[in-house]
């Protein structure tokens, strides 16, 4: 641990740089939860919530592995590709693999803020996924993180290692259970993408309107590795503040951060990403698409060109559907080198009346027209979105009553 225990203790009260402060003393840690041997036998209400974030129980054949945490307890773990993939709780993995301690708390520092410090102090469990060198995962691996208890707090620590030349797709579904509403989710994730590896990681959220969410993510990318990170929040939530950082250390590494958000009334979403391009030929794209329906939406993006020969683009676009909310786009570009290609584009506005009426003149109702334009806006310009995710997004838009 590079940080002294004293400084971590001190950090237990340290407010985060961004996002409203959460009084963690209002919440309790639930350590015991039921075990679900077979996802198909999960209680109906749990299943329903899982499905809403892309975690399937019936189509488990379409998943190479599943892991589930309810509150702070691992509830399920199954692996259909044991030849090339290891999936288990992080605690078990730490006991099994000595080398893991060199990866733990290295990309996210425990004394960053009260959320990381608390997760560290709780000695939090979480998901460990290791895709072994050269292995190509056929179907996505799914991880479900569920808040199962009202006034509960979940602290998870995840480590993913995508080894040399491996390919993997993972879907992380985060949801509150049907009996939980007010809760806090803190997820510390450290992701290592080794030389030539590919990782597509999609996170779909469906929290309760009183839930606060504080993910803390660090990603290290080696030579010629590639990552696509999709972050989707379309349902009501109280506050989300997320700002993953990726270090592109190996030549030719590239990453794409996509954020798709819908800020409902009362929601406060602060979502961003930082990519540090440390080697030549590295590339990054941060794309954010958001809709504000009376909520507050902050889209940050920060690109740091620490090497000549890098290429990076930042794009924040937002549609404001209703007054009363707030939309802020904060793009930042940093470099000390001349030989870089770094650009940004930001646009905030309403849907143009021309477009709505054009579709209406073909017989679509106003709601249908607005829905169609919004779907197109949210997913249309984003590369590398899995079809399944697009379908989830369409379903969520359909349910969220975006007409006037």
């Amino acid at each position: 641990m590079q940080n002294g225990e004293a400084s971590i203790k001190k950090a237990l009260d340290k407010k985060a740089e961004y996002g409203p402060d959460i009084d963690l003393s209002r919440y309790s840690m639930i350590r015991e939860q039921k075990i679900i041997e077979n996802l198909e036998e999960a209680p109906e209400d749990v299943k329903k919530r899982m499905e809403s974030v892309g975690i399937t129980s019936s189509k488990e054949t379409e998943r190479d592995g599943s892991i589930m945490f309810i509150d702070n307890r691992i509830s399920h773990c199954s692996n259909k590709a044991p030849d090339g993939v290891e999936i288990m709780s992080l605690k078990k993995a730490m006991a099994k693999y000595d080398w893991l301690k060199d990866l733990s708390w290295k990309l996210v520092s425990p004394d960053k803020d009260k959320y990381t410090a608390r997760t560290y102090e709780e000695d939090a469990d979480g998901t460990f996924v290791w895709v072994k060198a050269g292995y190509h995962v056929k179907h996505p691996i799914q991880a479900c993180m569920m808040l199962g208890t009202d006034k509960g707090m979940q602290t998870l620590h995840n480590i993913f290692v995508i080894d040399e030349g491996a390919h993997a797709e993972m879907i992380s579904g985060c949801a509150t259970g049907s009996h939980a509403d007010d809760g806090v989710h803190i997820g510390v994730s450290e992701i290592y993408i080794r030389e030539g590896a590919y990782f597509s990681y999609s996170m779909i959220h469906n929290w309760g309107p009183k839930t606060s969410v504080r993910p803390r993510t660090g990603i290290q990318m080696d030579r010629d590795s590639k990552m696509i990170n999709n972050y989707v929040i379309l349902n009501p939530v109280a506050t989300v503040q997320s700002a993953p950082t990726a270090w592109l250390n190996g030549e030719g590494a590239s990453c794409q951060f996509n954020t798709i958000c819908l800020a409902h009334p009362g929601a406060d979403i602060d979502s961003g990403g930082t990519v540090i391009l440390n080697a030549p030929r590295t590339g990054a794209e941060i794309v954010s698409r958001s809709i504000t329906k009376g909520g507050k939406m902050m889209a940050r993006g920060h690109l740091i060109g620490n090497s000549p020969g890098v290429k990076a683009h930042l794009e924040c676009k937002s549609i404001v559907l209703e007054d009363g909310g707030q939309t802020l786009a904060v793009p930042k570009l940093d470099t000390f080198y001349a030989d870089v290609d770094m650009t940004h584009e930001a646009a905030v506005g309403k849907i143009s009346q021309d477009q709505i009426e054009y579709l209406m003149s073909r017989g679509l109702s106003e709601d249908e027209a607005v829905g169609m334009i919004i779907r197109g806006f949210l997913v249309g310009g984003i590369k590398g979105l899995p079809q399944e995710l697009t379908d989830e997004i369409n379903a969520a838009i359909e349910q969220s009553d975006l007409g006037h």
């Binding site: 143009s352 009346q353 021309d354 477009q355 009426e357 054009y358 579709l359 209406m360 003149s361 073909r362 017989g363 679509l364 109702s365 106003e366 249908e368 027209a369 169609m372 334009i373 779907r375 197109g376 806006f377 949210l378 997913v379 249309g380 310009g381």
Partner: protein, 253 residues
């Protein structure tokens, strides 16, 4: 009862009065052409019939099949059977032409099969109008109208920007739209036509494919004359709009 009847229509756009008392009628199964110099208010009149919000009706009224539609929302007009080919439809980023066509035809998948006849089969996956060439926009508009199957078709310069080969395609497809007898009510088949059309054209080329029953000339927001479309075109060609406007009203035959 007229298919469309416009009475003393005054329309404002961008804070200016553009239409200054337009009177016009279209009967069932009738094709009517609208001529007039650039900026005279032709497209504005069509937009007002379709109900676009930027056209504010300050006076007068529009009747469609006897119903006052002056303040009716755009989609209700479309559902009643009015369809329009815009001169410059907007780009709609993210909305695929194919998805829109399926929505228009209420998921009757057949319409996508016809895309090939319109040479639009390679455009179904593309964002609506984004990067479409002039001719592609027209073909896409006619294809959408075909999916929509309107009873009153408003065509704003269907042939402009279209090459000679495509004119034939567009002309034929518009002909099919206008001579669609499926829309005729039983026992009311009138010379095999019940779809009506209002067509804006500068050159009259499209009339080689669809014919026209009567024409109007509009200038500075007012209808100046009406008559046989061929006669009006001849007048305009020979004497220009100035002459024609100051001239006598050409009598309807």
């Amino acid at each position: 009862m007229h298919m469309l009847e416009i009475r003393d229509l005054h329309v404002e756009a961008g804070g200016r009065e553009i239409l200054k008392g337009v009177n016009l009628t279209i009967d069932e199964g009738e094709t009517v052409t609208l001529f007039g110099p650039n900026g005279s208010g032709k497209s504005t009149l069509m937009a007002a019939i379709m109900g676009y919000a930027y056209c504010k009706v300050t006076k007068g009224s529009i009747f469609y099949e006897g119903v006052d539609i002056t303040n009716m929302p755009v989609d209700e007009r479309a559902k009643m059977g009015i369809g329009m080919m815009m001169q410059r439809p907007p780009n709609v980023v993210g909305v695929k032409l194919g998805d829109l066509l399926q929505t228009i035809s209420r998921n009757n998948g057949d319409v996508l099969k016809h895309a090939g006849d319109f040479k639009m089969n390679n455009h179904l996956d593309r964002d609506l109008n984004v990067g479409f060439s002039g001719g592609e926009i027209k073909r896409s508009e006619v294809l959408q109208l075909t999916a929509q199957n309107p009873k009153l078709v408003l065509l704003d310069e269907p042939e402009s920007g279209v090459d000679l080969e495509s004119i034939e395609l567009i002309g034929d497809k518009i002909h099919d739209l206008l001579y669609n007898t499926e829309l005729c009510e039983m026992g009311r088949a009138k010379a095999n036509r019940c779809v009506s059309a209002l067509v804006i054209t500068h050159t009259g080329q499209i009339l080689d494919y669809i014919g026209a029953d009567k024409g109007y000339i509009i200038n500075d927001g007012r209808i100046r004359c009406s008559g046989r479309p061929t006669d009006l075109l001849k007048e305009i060609r020979e004497k220009g709009y100035k002459e024609c406007i100051s001239c006598r009203m050409v009598k309807l035959p």
